[in-house]
Subunit: 70 residues, 2 copies
Amino acid sequence: MCEANIYIINSEPDDENPGELFLEAVDKIVPEGENLWRLTSIFGEQKTLVGRIHSMRLVEHQILFERMEI
Amino acid sequence: MCEANIYIINSEPDDENPGELFLEAVDKIVPEGENLWRLTSIFGEQKTLVGRIHSMRLVEHQILFERMEI
């Protein structure tokens, strides 16, 4: 399956340490407002995240966000 | 492989017709500015897109954008 893991980057991410894992196995990502994202995993778990997309590497199953203050 | 196809939505997308195919088999997506995205496919093809993310369904290999005027 082609879900991705969502990470919050700290400083400059590298391949071995992309950042803090926020939610695993995410299927659906839908923006719900300015820099507000609703994430749904393949297991049905939902979390919201306030941040900006830093980068996506789908083949590596990695989506990196920069967290923002609300 | 877990690449995704990038679509530009027209009106309300449905499962059979998510929109206009913009780039197939995308691996990397990196923002390069406000609503400006650089897409790179697994074949090395690169395109830039001005728009907002409408939704992602990674298990379905679909990422939908709303195109914006520059």
